[in-house]
Amino acid sequence: MNIIGPDYLVFGVDDVAAAIEYLTAWGLKPVDVTDKGGLFETLDGTGVIIRHKSDPSLPPPLPTSNMLRQQIYGVRSAEDLDAIEAELGKDRRVTRLSNGSIELKDDHGFELKFQVTIRRELDMPAEKINAPGAPAQRGPNEIGVWEDMPALPRTLSHVVLFVPDIDIATKFYCDRLGFVITDVLTGAGPFLRPKANDDHHTLFFIRTPEYMKGCEHLAFHMGGPTELMVAGTRFVKKGYQSFWGPGRHKFGSNWFWYFNSPLGCHFEYDADMDKHDDTWVAREAPNGAEASQIVLFEYREKWSPAGGPPPGAKG
């Protein structure tokens, strides 16, 4: 089962205009978006689909206040869809749609869809850095930052779910769909990587009471930590609300910056995540502030130590 990762997340929102404004400001491109909602794309075509929560075309809501309606996973080929259908058809209803994609529910009742991935291959450089002792990544006269440098989400990176039972969730994704545990934050849950993706995680669980079940956050890969901080700073300056960050996680090593949203969950810019293969042995650490980040900063207004001493100061 060559699952790559989330192609789209689908939300049923209570304020479509607010969600449209937010997703556009986040740096996503509206595709066929009307006042009823639509698709918002990253650079590789993955992204977020929104509709009003009363829209009958949406999958049913979770029995909580969460607005997530469906996670749409991309797989490599039609054979992978057949394999998933064969495996999960054993104990649940799997609906085959006319375009070949399949729909089903996971063991916590989250709506899932699997499709041959729509993601386009990206061909863009990562952030380049120079350091003594290593060959220059930016050669002579190649500058690192400029005021209007691009800083757009490149791809949908991962989704984090509040689930009441970590065992049930882990067994479903690992035993039935071939995900691998890369690391575990004890007390929260495991980081999971699907077979056809070498990112540290595309899925993470946090154990919560049943009445919180839903999406905690979704994250978007940026071109590097500088792009992440530039995008986040621009977002704050437009009035959007930072929740946590910028900082850098320990497990996964990815930079992060989380924001509140009108979609009832956090949105995260992330950058520079670790890659893994099957030789990796999962680490474990107790969940908490120390384990979750190596550094944490907070936005502040631009300031500079300009000007001399105040008039009258003794020289």
Binding site: V13, D14, D15, A18, Y22, T64, S65, N66, M67, F162, T208, Y211, M212, G214, E216, K238, G239, Y240, Q241, F243, F259, N260, S261, P262, G264, C265, H266
Partner: protein
């Protein structure tokens, strides 16, 4: 206009928030953070009465900011104060969470007074106020 009890003299220990006319029925505004407060103070008007709450969702013990954008504190139907971290809904006049992660918990009320000119003040933290 406001039915919030007016005090004849706003004492100097009170912190100025806004003018009562700035917050119309059903609307919400965030002010601050004022001196001594760790978060903004949310002022809203419901059924003519002004209420003020600390902008600190009780889901996490540190209390986190609730808007998704400056002054965007309400749900889509504009019926409830909303934490736009995980969509917890709070009653505008009691601060009680009725849906979401902090179900049953309450926002922290900030005591306010409105003087005869209609200026709204919050109690300074420490004397009926909070930090």
């Amino acid at each position: 206009m406001s039915t919030t009890p007016a005090l004849p003299h706003a004492s100097s220990e009170k912190l100025h928030l806004c003018h009562a006319a700035e917050v119309r029925e059903g609307h919400v505004k965030g002010f601050g953070p004022l001196e001594g407060y760790r978060r903004k103070i949310i002022v809203l008007r419901k059924n003519g009465v002004l209420h003020a709450w600390l902008d600190a969702c009780p889901h996490y013990s540190s209390g986190t900011p609730m808007a998704w954008k400056t002054d965007a504190y309400l749900n889509g139907e504009r019926t409830h104060l909303t934490c736009h971290s995980h969509n917890a809904l709070f009653e505008m006049d009691t601060g009680k969470c009725i849906l979401g992660p902090c179900l049953g918990q309450k926002l922290t009320r900030v005591e306010i007074v409105v003087d005869e000119d209609g200026d709204v003040y919050a109690a300074a933290p420490g004397e009926g106020g909070l930090i």
